[in-house]
Symmetry: C2
Subunit: 393 residues, 2 copies
């Protein structure tokens, strides 16, 4: 209705138009005297001045001065927060030592160096009840099959292809693995996370332990991730805890002709003067998971990366973080698929969709829904509980 | 192509159909002799057996036994993780004490009890450079306006409506605030987070401090959130750290006729025998932010909540968590809107879309993209860094 008060778009070269304009003005006058319309208009104007930054602009100088004082305090908070995250990192280091004996045992069971005792391998499936309900007939068939199989069943060493199977189950990894990477990854026997020593710059190393194989002589391939836990001077308010800022790979000592990260192509070259043609071979980069160990370097020399490189690097950081935060601590669940199925329950709830539409009607943008969440956007809860800490996916 | 080998759907009462079936079989034979088709079929079959749970099912008993041993170890890890999060909570408690002097100062500046010194209120906007580029003309106008305004500018006490403005800026809160809540919320002077004492069950209390007002006699309204940090016995692998599991409000001592959480409605009642009609008044619940202090109780008596109640409770937990994790520690940024704008930069990158489509072609489901992320789904990075810890939104 506020548009009626505007006389824009009225052509001045027409009597008819002038009449219309005059009528319009009359209408506008009437409309403007309607208290409901006035209230609606006022609300609209208020809403405009309610956008945070424009609202701040309208405040008296003395108040703006106090807001600046609050911002100074906020920067101090960010620095305290940085110290907090450093202490959390110390805790992670302390707990890494507590997990290690369990991870060592895991490695021994996987490689077959140690066989678990009966007590160690007892397990009551949480799905046992469900399985029972699924029907006795089916169960009997399965049991019969199992019994038949047992007699002739092989007993391989440990859990064959344990880590390789995880690579196959996790999309983020499987999309990096090429067919020719597979036989190499089958020799992967353990992945370890090592944190930097106290007092050292914050970092962690992923160690990929391989059994002796035909592809390279290294027994361990490493990838180091460097972190930063301090507010940016130019933008202290964006600080949210430690960030991965750079990474470093290692040299793989490939055995002759086994390097899957390069391929040899043949190229014809013509001699300028004589016009003769010769064929040369040239090595060019080849897609492979093992390129993970020759990452791009984050710009440290002042030159900034192009968009593609930045995306590649960001993806690499995500993968490193995923190894550290999910795969290494919960490997068996990624092997069985339970971690993947489990997380499935945490999808956005469908209940929110209806309310989302209401939000659209109010002219709000969907894009900031995640940032400035409305109750209706929330769907990440399960069985009436809310998780307080989450790893970054 | 695998569908061609199936003879389902062939009507048996028709010669024509039989002929078709025969042709189909012939075609199938031809198709099945094509090595490319066979390879594709085999790949398909392999993919089926590659789904994690069906793959596990095919493993020899001895291997399954070792996997169970790994699961036992994994449960032990979950219990160690629970201890880790308890220590993180201790750290939060320790740091709450370090933040408090800054938050006290913030409160004093907001209420106007203390005026910041010149040094305390110095602030160089990170946008100063941008402002300069935005054009001198505009700047001059703004400066002239400011100077004109300064002369006649009022100097209100502190930062008026500081917390109420945050309620208005944050969608999650503003959607709870009714028009009649607004004058009450203008009396809100501070929000504090208090953690439970060491050794006590994990919890936190949100304290809403009000100046004396015409609405209720309480000076503080409280909301307590109870947390749990131990793996569920029935589902230990779902443990991901502390969860909010219940909450509790407080009684608001409303002054007479000021309770906005109820409304009085008139209802006509007809006397059964005499047929006379009388009008009675009845109090019914009314939408209000202040219902935040009379939350639903999570089922503790064995009865489970219905879906609506569960959603209401989950939303309440999200709000409590948001107060604790974002609004209280960064109030000024929600007042100015910087926290909201800042987070805007962390939207999903558009670069991922193209690759997402590729994923679809492979017949993968979009829904599990977040759970089992592919590199192409990643977009939550900025300027080549990756945040390692995030609060739960």
């Amino acid at each position: 209705m506020a548009d009626n008060s505007s006389s824009d778009g009225v052509p001045s070269d027409s009597l008819e138009a002038a009449k219309n304009a005059s009528n319009k003005e009359k209408l506008t006058d009437q409309v403007m005297q309607n208290p409901q319309v006035l209230a609606a208009l006022q609300e609209r104007l208020e809403n405009v001045s309610h956008t945070p930054s424009s609202y701040i602009e309208t405040l008296p100088k003395a108040v703006k001065r106090r807001i600046n004082a609050l911002k100074q305090l906020q920067v101090k908070c960010a620095h305290i927060e940085a110290k907090f995250y450093e202490e959390v990192h110390d805790l992670e280091r302390k707990y890494a030592a507590l997990y290690q004996p369990l991870f060592d045992k895991r490695r021994e069971f996987i490689t077959g160096d140690v066989e678990p005792t009966d007590a160690e391998s007892e397990w009551h499936s949480e799905n046992e009840e469900e399985d029972k309900l699924a029907g006795d007939v089916k169960n009997k068939v399965v049991i019969a099959e199992k019994e038949a199989a047992t007699a002739e069943e092989p007993n391989p060493k440990g859990i064959p292809e344990f880590w390789f199977t995880i690579f196959r189950n996790v999309d983020m990894l499987s999309e990096l693995v090429q067919e020719y990477d597979e036989p190499i990854l089958k020799h992967l026997q353990d992945i370890k996370v090592k944190f930097s020593d106290p007092g050292q710059p914050m970092s962690f190393v992923l160690e990929f332990h391989f059994e002796p194989n035909d592809y390279f002589t290294n027994s361990v391939l490493t990838k180091t991730y460097k972190m930063k836990s301090e507010p940016d001077k130019a933008d202290p308010f964006s600080f949210e805890g430690p960030e991965i800022v750079d990474c470093d790979g290692c040299t793989i000592d490939w055995k002759k002709g086994k390097n899957v990260t390069v391929k040899t192509i043949k190229k014809k070259q013509k001699h300028k003067g004589r016009g003769t043609v010769r064929t040369i071979t040239k090595q060019v980069p080849n897609d492979s998971f093992f390129n993970f160990f020759s990452p791009l370097k984050a710009s440290g020399d002042g030159e900034s990366l192009d968009e593609d490189s930045e995306f590649t690097l960001a993806s690499d950081f995500e993968i490193g973080h995923f190894f550290r935060e999910r795969i290494v601590p919960r490997a068996v669940l990624y092997f069985t698929g339970e971690a993947i199925e489990d997380d499935d329950n945490f999808e956005e709830g469908e209940e929110g969709e209806e309310e989302d539409l209401e939000g659209d009607e109010e002219g709000e943008e969907d894009e900031d829904a995640e940032i400035n969440p409305k109750v209706s956007d929330l769907g990440d809860t399960q069985q009436g509980v809310l998780r307080c800490w989450t790893f970054h996916r």
